[in-house]
Subunit: 170 residues, 2 copies
């Protein structure tokens, strides 16, 4: 799974510009994927060149023009091929856990600082997912709901554990 696959998926739902694709990432699945403009724009250009997308310039009122991309039949086929390909392993890399692992080498206050800032982050992400579940929970597909739930239960479990740890460290 790479940026190209995600772009295919988004454009399968509706034609969009690079800017809109980035907003989509941030709104709907920032918790398990992200990509910068420095990836998105070159990827779109490459995909158009290889025939997966078509570009159309669209004029807007009170805003700059935008390039709206749509899937070609080849683009749609490529996306379905991705969905049929073997599931890839998740990538998880945690600076927080690495520091905990080597925590003996730092003083206690430093370790507590890591735990409380990690807790704060998780709480913010959790609140954002809850907001999304309240806002979209009724309208989205069962699979999309499960997607949100996976995030929610993971954050819940982590938040609870980290809170306990701060109350009675040991």
């Amino acid at each position: 799974m790479n940026t190209q696959h995600v772009i295919l998926g988004i454009l399968h739902n509706q034609p969009s510009s690079g800017y809109e694709i980035k907003q989509y990432f941030e709104q709907y699945f920032s918790f398990f994927f992200d990509a910068s403009f420095g990836t998105i724009y070159p990827t779109l250009a490459k995909m158009e060149k290889s025939g997966l997308l078509t570009k159309e310039s669209v004029k807007q009122e009170g805003k700059p023009d935008k390039n709206v991309y749509s899937l070609t039949p080849e683009g749609a086929a490529q996306f379905h091929a991705y969905l049929m390909s073997p599931l890839e392993a998740e990538v998880f890399r945690s600076d927080f856990l690495m520091r905990l692992y080597f925590g003996e080498l730092a003083d206690e206050d430093t370790v507590t600082g890591w735990i409380s800032s990690q807790l704060k982050r998780k709480e913010m992400l959790y609140a954002e997912l809850q907001r999304q579940m309240e806002e979209f929970g009724e309208r989205i597909s069962p699979a999309q709901r499960l997607c949100l739930q996976v995030g929610l239960v993971q954050y819940e479990a982590t938040i609870q554990l980290l809170k306990e740890q701060l109350v009675r460290p040991e």
Copy 2:
């Protein structure tokens, strides 16, 4: 946090060869970090060149020679500088969640297949963490124990949710 920092941490505990460092990754924190030989060996060479490590060739009985690396004072200083630097955000990229998100575009059996293979993976990782907790739980530091616990509670929560989903999909 990158491979260099992790190598510094491991060598802080004990001098090791590249091969041993890789084994260490796999045994103790494969669930939140990994790196291939193609990263480890060039990184070790670079670190030696820049004065963070010293290399010593060690002969072994019934095995090829190995290059054992040790931290220099500059290496130790660099590691402590890393521990004092701001905590970085976790990186999480999930092919599984991405597919769920676009799940309407695949048929129901395919989605069920993703869920059950994801469940199987998580169960294996969970079993491995449990084994580690039983084997090392008494001997490791509180911070290292917390590290394992974070993995355990996240996997537990996810496994439970995915199981429910397979029993009564909706």
